[in-house]
C-alpha cells in the first residue's frame, strides 16, 4: 500500500467573489456559442433572421416599421443607428431584470443524518444542507456552503456527516473534492473549505479517533486518482484555531471505483465497496502520534453481484467468546496476547440482484482463515436473505444487531429478525426507498425516498412522526445507479433525447401555490431518457419551499405490486396538460395511457410495428377537478376520449389545453383537428338542479361547441406518425377570441375564432414557420412560437416582432421542440418569455455522439421580450434544462422549473416578488431568537430547547438576572368568573358605573398585578 502525505490548506473565498455568486442559478460558462436568439447586431449573416409577412428576409430594418402588407421601408443607414440603440438599450434595460436564487432542489442520495439528541434531521440537496426539526418537520435552518460557480462548475454535495468529536459541526464533501466543516447551529464555516483531491471525491465518512492522548476527526474519503484508479485516504484537517497542520495519507488503492465507505468503532474498522468487491480494513497500528503513521490492513473479497448497499456493526467480544484464541494458543503460536482483541465486525451487504448477505464476525473469520489455512473448517459462507425483487437500495443494522432494515424499489420497508428469520413489512411507501438510517438512540428510523421526500418513522409502531418533502418533479441523474448493471426488462426509451416538459401551473387564487404533475420515477437517464409517467399532482408552497400536498390525478400503482407479469414495469397514465381556471377554482387535466408494446405482441403480424394497434388502445381522459373539502381536488367530470376520430377506434391525443382568462371555460385541440370548448353546466336531473351536501348546485362540464380545423385528422397516414403534427389554442385576455393553429404543412395558417359561437372570424397566413409549438395572447398581441418567435398585433393587423431561432434549435425533431421550447406570457409586466434548449458546450468539443445526446450537456436560454421593444429586455443562459416556464402570477415576471428540480423567478428589479425566493433561509427565526430572546415573551417551548444549544445564550442568561424571572412573570393572569362578576353584578344595569370605569376595571383584572415601582 502506498502512502504519501499531502498538505492541505483551507482556502477562504474572497468575500466579494462569493457574494457575487451567492444568489443566482448556476450560470454556464460563456463561450462563443451565443444565445439561441440571434440579434441582428451581434451575428451578421444568415442567422440574422427577420422576416416580414411575405417571408422575405428584411435586412437591418427596425422591427417596428414592418408592415404586414409587405410595405418594407428600406433604410440603409439603419444599422448604425441600431448599434447605438442597442448599446443605449443595454445600458438602460439590462439591469432591470434579475433572476432570483433558487428554491426547491432535490435531496441527494446520501444517508440522512440525525443530530445526537434526535431533535433535528439533516438533509442535503445539490448545494445546500437543510436542518429540519424532527418534532414538527419544519425547516429550522439552511446552510449554503459558498461555492464559486464559475470556478467549480460541477461542485455538488455528495456526502455529509456529523462530526463525532464535535456534534455541533458537520462535514460536507463536494464532488470536486472540497470539504467543508460547518457549525450547523450558527452556520459558521460555510465559506471555507479544504480541497482533498483535485480529481473529485466520491464518498466520505468521518471517525473520531484517539491517539497520542488527542481526539480528532479523521476524514476518510474515496477519491479518483489522476491515473484512472481510486484510493481511500485518511485525512486530518487543521481546524480553524488549531496549530496542527493538516495531514493526509492514502490507505488503500483500487482499480475499481470505490463508491461507498463506512467506518465503525471509532475508525478501527472501515468497509468500502467497489463494484462487486467488499474491502474490509482494520487499524493495524495502535499508536500513531500523527496521522501519517496510521496504518490500515485491508482484506478484499468478492461478491457475486454488484453491491448496492452495505452496513457494518461493531461490538466488543465477550471474554469467554475467545475460543479461537484458545485454539490458537494450544497450537503453540504465542501471539497477540498483549494486543487488544479485535472487535466483532458484522457486515450486511445488499446487492443489485436483491439478495442480502449477513457476514457475522467477518473480520475474525477472515483473519483466522488466513492463519489456519490447513484446517479450513471456518466457513465464510454468509447468511443469505432474499426477498427483494430488485436491487437492495439500502440496508442497515438495528442498534442491537438483532434486526436488519432494508428497502428498495418495491417501496416496502423490510425488517428482518435475524434470530427467527421472520420479516415484518411496511408496504406501500410512495416511492423507491433510497436510504434508511437508525437514529442514535434507536427510537426512530429516517427513511429517504426517491420522490424527494424523507420521513421519520417511530421504531415501535412504524408510524410517521414527521415528513419532509421537496418538489417532486423529475431531475437528470448525475450518476448511473447500480441497478443499471443488472439486466432487466426495460421500457423503450424515447426516440429522441429530450427532457419532457413538466405540466405546472400557479394557483391564481393563491400565488404561492405551484401545482406540478409528478410521478414516481424521478431521475432521468441523461442519454436514454424514458417517457415519464406522471399520475400525481403535487402542490408546492413557494413561500416555504415545501410540499403541502400530493394527490393522484389518475390511477396509480402505489399499492400494487409494481412489476408486470412480463417483468416490465406496470405503466401508469401520464398527465400531459394541466390548466387552472382564471379563478383557481377548477383544474382541468389531460392524461394519456398507451399499453406497452409487449402486451400486444400477439396481434402483430410480421413486419408490423404495432404502433397502430397500441393507439387503438390508447386511453385519453379530460378531467375537471374542483377544490373540495380538505384542500383536495375532487373529480367533477371525466371525459373519455375527448378527441376521438370519427371513423377509427382509439382515442386521439389532446394537443393543447387553454384556459379562458376571463371566465370558467377551457378549450382543447386534438389529433382530429377539432377545437372544443368546455363549459360548466348545472347538473340537472329531470330538469331539477341537483344540489350537493351544502346546498350548492352541482356542476358538470360539457362540450359547449366544437369546430373542425382542416382535415389532417382524417388522413390515416398522419395518424400513424406520432407527433407529426401539433395544434395550439389560446384565449385572448378578455376571452372573446380563440386563436387556433392546427399544424401541418399549411403555410403558417392560424385561425381566430369567436370564442362564443365557434365560427372562424379571421384566418391569417404565415403566422408561424415549421411546426407551431405554442401560441398565446398578450393584450391585443398574438405571440406564436415555432421556428420563429412572432408577435402580431391583431387590432392593428400588423406584425410587430419577429425573431428567428438558430439552426441549433430549428433542426431539432418536433418532439424535442415540443417538450423543450417554452413560451410564457406575463400580463402584469406586459412581457413574454421564451426558453429554448442549447448545448452547454460548443458542439464541436463534444466529440462523441453520446455526448451530443446527453442531456447533461444541454443548457437553456431564457429570453424575455417586451412588445414595446425591438430587442429582448433580458436574456440569460442556464446550465440546466428548463422544464416549465410560467408567469409568476401575483408578481411581475416569470418563474421556471429546471431539470435539477429547482425553481427560479425572473423578475424586474424594483417589483415586489410575491413568490420571493428568500424564504429558504427560514433560519431567521433561530437567529432572531438569539438576539431578541430577552424581548420576546412568547418563546415557545420548542425554542426554549434551542436556547440550550446556542453557545452564546448560556452567557446571556447568566448575565441577565431578570431573564429567569421573565419566564414566571409572563404567564397571563388568571381571571376567575367570580372576579368578573364582582365588576359587573353590582346591581341593575342602570345602576352600573360608567362604561369607561367598567372598562378599566376589567382591563385591570387582565393586566395582572400592578408594576411595583423600582426601589
Amino acid at each position: 500500500m502506498s502512502s504519501g502525505t499531502v498538505e492541505l490548506k483551507r482556502k477562504r473565498l474572497g468575500p466579494n467573489l462569493s457574494e457575487k455568486h451567492k444568489s443566482g442559478p448556476p450560470i454556464a460558462p460563456i463561450f462563443g456559442w451565443d444565445a439561441a436568439f440571434e440579434l441582428p447586431e451581434i451575428v451578421p449573416g444568415e442567422e440574422l433572421v427577420a422576416y416580414d409577412m411575405s417571408g422575405q428576409p428584411i435586412s437591418g430594418t427596425g422591427v417596428d416599421e414592418w408592415k404586414c402588407n409587405g410595405e418594407i421601408k428600406e433604410q440603409k443607414e439603419e444599422t448604425e443607428r441600431q448599434r447605438e440603440e442597442v448599446q443605449l438599450y443595454e445600458a438602460r434595460q439590462q439591469p432591470a431584470w434579475n433572476v432570483s436564487s433558487s428554491i426547491g432542489g432535490r435531496m441527494i442520495n446520501a444517508d440522512p443524518v440525525f443530530t445526537q439528541d434526535e431533535k433535528f434531521l439533516i438533509l442535503a440537496n445539490r448545494s445546500s444542507i437543510s436542518v429540519y426539526s424532527t418534532s414538527n418537520s419544519l425547516l429550522t435552518t439552511t446552510l449554503i456552503p459558498k461555492v464559486d460557480v464559475v470556478k467549480r462548475p460541477n461542485a455538488r454535495i455528495i456526502a455529509y456527516c456529523i462530526s463525532p468529536t464535535n456534534p455541533d459541526h458537520i462535514w460536507v464533501a463536494f464532488a470536486d473534492g472540497a470539504i467543508y466543516y460547518i457549525n450547523w447551529i450558527s452556520g459558521e464555516g460555510a465559506d471555507e473549505f479544504w480541497t482533498l483531491s483535485s480529481n473529485g471525491c466520491i464518498h466520505m465518512t468521518v471517525a473520531s479517533m484517539v491517539s497520542g492522548g488527542r481526539r480528532r476527526d479523521v476524514v476518510f474519503a474515496t477519491e479518483l486518482r489522476s491515473d484512472k484508479a481510486w484510493r481511500i485516504t485518511a485525512n486530518e484537517l487543521s481546524l480553524p484555531g488549531s496549530k496542527l497542520p493538516s495531514a493526509s495519507i492514502t490507505i488503500f488503492t483500487s482499480t475499481q471505483m470505490v463508491n461507498y465507505l463506512k467506518s465503525a468503532n471509532e475508525g478501527e474498522v472501515l468497509v468500502a465497496t467497489a463494484e462487486k468487491s467488499i474491502m474490509l480494513g482494520f487499524l493495524a497500528t495502535d499508536k500513531y502520534e500523527t496521522l501519517d503513521k496510521i496504518r490500515y490492513e485491508f482484506r478484499v473479497f468478492d461478491s457475486s453481484a454488484f453491491i448496492s448497499a452495505i452496513d457494518v456493526r461493531c461490538s466488543i467480544p465477550h471474554k469467554e467468546d475467545e475460543e479461537d484464541e484458545v485454539v490458537a494458543k494450544r497450537k503453540g503460536k504465542k501471539q497477540k496476547q498483549k494486543q487488544k482483541p479485535k472487535p466483532i465486525v458484522d457486515v450486511v451487504v445488499g446487492d443489485a440482484k436483491g439478495s442480502i448477505f449477513v457476514h457475522n464476525d467477518l473480520l475474525r473469520n477472515l483473519l483466522n482463515k488466513e492463519r489456519l489455512k490447513q484446517e479450513s473448517n471456518i466457513s465464510l459462507l454468509p447468511q443469505k436473505l432474499h426477498w427483494h425483487r430488485q436491487g437492495v437500495q439500502t440496508v442497515k443494522w438495528s442498534l442491537d444487531g438483532a434486526y436488519i432494515i432494508s428497502g428498495g424499489s418495491e417501496t416496502v420497508l423490510v425488517l428482518w429478525q435475524l434470530d427467527t428469520g421472520r420479516h415484518q413489512f411496511l408496504p406501500h411507501m410512495a416511492a423507491t426507498i433510497q436510504n434508511v438510517v437508525v437514529s442514535p438512540a434507536g427510537t426512530s428510523y429516517a427513511v429517504q425516498l426517491k420522490d424527494n421526500s424523507a420521513m421519520i418513522l417511530s421504531t415501535a409502531e412504524l408510524k410517521a412522526t414527521s415528513n419532509v418533502a421537496g418538489i417532486q418533479s423529475s431531475v437528470l441523474a448525475h450518476e448511473e445507479s447500480i441497478e443499471v448493471k443488472v439486466q432487466r426488462v426495460e421500457d423503450e426509451p424515447l426516440a429522441h433525447s429530450l427532457f419532457q416538459r413538466t405540466p405546472a401551473t400557479i394557483n391564481p387564487s393563491d400565488p404561492s401555490q405551484l401545482l406540478v404533475a409528478v410521478g414516481q420515477e424521478h431521475e432521468l437517464h441523461p442519454i436514454k431518457p424514458l417517457a415519464l409517467k406522471r399520475p400525481y399532482l403535487q402542490t408546492f408552497d413557494l413561500k416555504n419551499a415545501r410540499s403541502v400536498g400530493r394527490q393522484a390525478l389518475t390511477r396509480s400503482n402505489i399499492t400494487n405490486i409494481n412489476v408486470a407479469p412480463g417483468f416490465g414495469r406496470m405503466t401508469e397514465p401520464t398527465v400531459t396538460h394541466m390548466k387552472l381556471s382564471f379563478d383557481g377554482k377548477w383544474l382541468a387535466t389531460i392524461d394519456e395511457w398507451t399499453p406497452s408494446e409487449a402486451d400486444l405482441e400477439h396481434i402483430l403480424h410480421a413486419g408490423m410495428d404495432g404502433i397502430d394497434e397500441r393507439w387503438r388502445r390508447r386511453e385519453v381522459c379530460l378531467k375537471f377537478w374542483q377544490m373540495g373539502q380538505g384542500e383536495v381536488w375532487e373529480l367533477v367530470s371525466r371525459i373519455n376520449a375527448p378527441h376521438s376520430f370519427e371513423d377509427a377506434a382509439g382515442a386521439g391525443r389532446v394537443l393543447d389545453l387553454a384556459a379562458d382568462p376571463s371566465s370558467t371555460r377551457f378549450s382543447t385541440i386534438g389529433d382530429d383537428a377539432v377545437v372544443r370548448t368546455w363549459v360548466t353546466r348545472s347538473r340537472k336531473r329531470d330538469n331539477v338542479v341537483v344540489r350537493g351536501r351544502y346546498g350548492t348546485p352541482l356542476k358538470n362540464w360539457d362540450c359547449h361547441q366544437s369546430a373542425s380545423m382542416g382535415k389532417h385528422g382524417l388522413d390515416d397516414n398522419d395518424r400513424l406518425q406520432p407527433r407529426s403534427v401539433n395544434g395550439c389554442v389560446a384565449f385572448s385576455e378578455d376571452g372573446s377570441i380563440l386563436a387556433v393553429a392546427a399544424g401541418g404543412d399549411n403555410d403558417g395558417l392560424l385561425h381566430l375564432l369567436d370564442a362564443d359561437s365557434g365560427t372562424i372570424r379571421l384566418s391569417l397566413n404565415k403566422m408561424y414557420e415549421g411546426h407551431i409549438l405554442q401560441i398565446d395572447f398578450l393584450g391585443q398581441d398574438l405571440i406564436t412560437l415555432s421556428d420563429k418567435v412572432l408577435l402580431y398585433d391583431i387590432a392593428a393587423n400588423e406584425m410587430r416582432l419577429s425573431f428567428g431561432l438558430t439552426s441549433e434549435v430549428t433542426k431539432l425533431e418536433l418532439s424535442q421542440k415540443l417538450e423543450m421550447l417554452h413560451l410564457a406570457v406575463d400580463p402584469k409586466s406586459r412581457t413574454f418569455a421564451v426558453a429554448t434548449p442549447g448545448y452547454a458546450h460548443d458542439p464541436k468539443n463534444l466529440k462523441t455522439l453520446l455526448n451530443l445526446r446527453s442531456l447533461l450537456n444541454q443548457c437553456s436560454h431564457l429570453v424575455v421580450f417586451s412588445p414595446k421593444q425591438r430587442l429582448p429586455v433580458f436574456k440569460q443562459i442556464f446550465g440546466t434544462v428548463i422544464t416549465a416556464l410560467l408567469p409568476a402570477i401575483g408578481s411581475e415576471g416569470f418563474m421556471f422549473l429546471d431539470s435539477a428540480a429547482e425553481i427560479y423567478t425572473c423578475f424586474q428589479q424594483g417589483t415586489h416578488v410575491v413568490t420571493a425566493m428568500a424564504q429558504s433561509t427560514s433560519a431567521l427565526k433561530l437567529e432572531g431568537s438569539d438576539n431578541e430572546a430577552e424581548d420576546t415573551m412568547d418563546i415557545s417551548e420548542d425554542e426554549d430547547e434551542h436556547l440550550g444549544f446556542l453557545p452564546g445564550e448560556d452567557k446571556k442568561i447568566a448575565n441577565n438576572p431578570n431573564f429567569s424571572f421573565n419566564f414566571e412573570d409572563d404567564e397571563t393572569p388568571v381571571v376567575t368568573q367570580q372576579k368578573l362578576s364582582e365588576v359587573f353584578d353590582i346591581g341593575p344595569s342602570f345602576a352600573l358605573p360608567p362604561m369607561e370605569e367598567l372598562f378599566y376595571q376589567v382591563a385591570g383584572l387582565f393586566l395582572g398585578p400592578p408594576m411595583t415601582p423600582a426601589t
Partner: protein, 537 residues
Amino acid sequence: MAYQIPKHQPVKLPQGPSPITPEQRYWRSFKSPQNVPSQSPVTHISFPPRSGNSQVPSNNDYFAVTTGTRVLLYSIRTRKAVKTFTRFGDIAHSGEIRRDGRVMVAGDDSGKIQVFDVNSRAILKTWTEHKQPVWTTKFSPTDLTSIMSASDDRTVRLWDLPSQENQTTFVGHTDYVRSGTFLPGTMSNMIVTGSYDETVRLWDPRVPGKSAMIFKHAAPVEAVLAMPSGTQVLAAADNQISVLDLVAGKPLQLLKNHQKTVTSLCLASDGTRLVSGGLDGHIKIFETSGWNVVSGSKYTSPILALNVISSGTKREDKHVAVGLQSGVLSIRTKLSGEQKIKARERAKEMQALVDGNIDDYDKTNKKKRTRGMEAKLRGIDYLGEGADVIIEGSERTKVKKETAWARDLRQGKFAKALDAILEENAAHIMPPIEVLSVLIELRHRSGLRVALQGRDETSIQPIFKWVLKHITDPRYVDVCVDTAILLLDLYSEHVGDSPNMAKAVRQLHVQVKREVERSQYAWQVKGMLNMLMVKMP
C-alpha cells in the same frame, strides 16, 4: 406513512340517455305489493292529513279505503284490513278519518252523510240534507268538528258535528261537485271545490252567496288538491293538471303528462312531491318546484284513487296505496333499513328450511350473539374477554374490507382474480360491469395474457361465455375483442381436441360475423344520410 389501499373502483361507463335517477330508485323501492281484490272499484283512499299543530299527538293507525258500499279501515303498520263499515244505503263515497283516528265520515249515493265512531262502528250522526249523491266529505284540518261536503246537487255545505243542520251552504256551481278540500293552515276556513261545470271555486264562509274566486277549466274537474303553502291549488281536469295560484288569481302551469283523465291527486314526501293517478293506469310523481315528472309507474287497470300514506314523526312515505277500477287495492311499501334486514333474515331462514340445512343456519346465527346477549347469559357484569383498551388519538377511517379478488388483483394473482369474478354461484352473480372493470384493470396491469393462459377445458368456459354474451355491447366490445383475440392466440391449437372449445369458438365466430354485418348496415345508413346532409350546415 404507508399509503392506504384504496377501494377498487368499478369502471363508469357512459350513461345512457335516461339513467335511473335517485328519485326513480326511491319510488321503485316501494316494493312487496299487496293486492286486495274486492267486488267493486276502489273509489277513495284517504288517511288523516297531517295536523297543523305538530304538538297534537296523532295516534291514528288507520287509512280508509272506500269500495262499493263499504268503507274498510286498514292498519298502516300491518297493512291488514281491521274494520269494515257497511251500513250504507247505497254506494259509499269518500270515507275519511278524523286526524285523531276516532271518528270517520262518509257520504253515499243516496245523499246521506254518516259519521261513525271508529271503535264501535256506531253511527254518530246522519245528515240527509243533500238530495243527490255526496261525493266528497272532509274534516277540517284545524277544527275537529267541522266537516265539508260536496254533492251532485251542485251545493257545497259546511257542517258542525254537534248540530243537526248545516252551517253554511255554498251555491254557485252549475253541475255536479265531485271534489273539494279545505285550504291548509290559517286559511282553513276556506274551501276549494271542483265541479263538472268545469270550474274550480274558492269559497269563503264570510262571503255568503257567491264564490270568492273562480277558475275556469276546459273539462270537468275530477280532483282538487291544496298545496301545503296555502297559495297554490291543483286541479285535475280531463288529462291535465292545472296549477292555480290563489294570490295572483291565475293558473301557473298546466301539466299534460297523463294520457287519460286524471282521477286523483295527492302529496308525498312531506309535501314536496305530487302524485297523480289517471284512467290510463299510470301514476306520475312530480316535483313541486318546477313541476317536472321525476318518476312514475304503470298499473294494470285504470286508477280511481290513490294516496301515499306516511307515518312516523318525520312523515316518511310508507305505502303507496292505489285503488283500481278492477276493484284491486294495491299497497306497495317501503321497508325501513331494519325491516329490510329482518325480511332478508327471514328469507334466508326460509331458504335454509327449504334446503334442509336449517341446523347450519342456526349454528351460524348463534355466533352473532351480541354483547347484550352475552351479558344476559353470563351476568350483567360480564365485559367480554378482558376489557377493551382504547388508544386515543389514532383514529383511522374505517376502510371497507377489500374483496378477495381485488386483493388478488393488487398482488398480481391475475388468474385467481379473474376466476373469482367470473365464478357463478347461485346466490351471487357478479354484475357484468364488475367483470368489465376487472378485465380493464388486467389490461392496465399487462396481466390479461397471464390471467387467461394455462387454463383447461372447463376453466376456460366461463370466460368464453362472458365474452360471447357481451361482445355485441358497444361499451364492452373493446375489451371483449382483446380478450377474444388473446383466447384464440392462446388456445387455437387445442380447439380440435375439445368439442366444448370448438363449440365456443364457433359461437364466437357466428356472433362476430353477425355483428360485422350489423355495423356494415349502419355504415350504409350513415353513407346515405351523409349524402342527404351534404348541403346542410
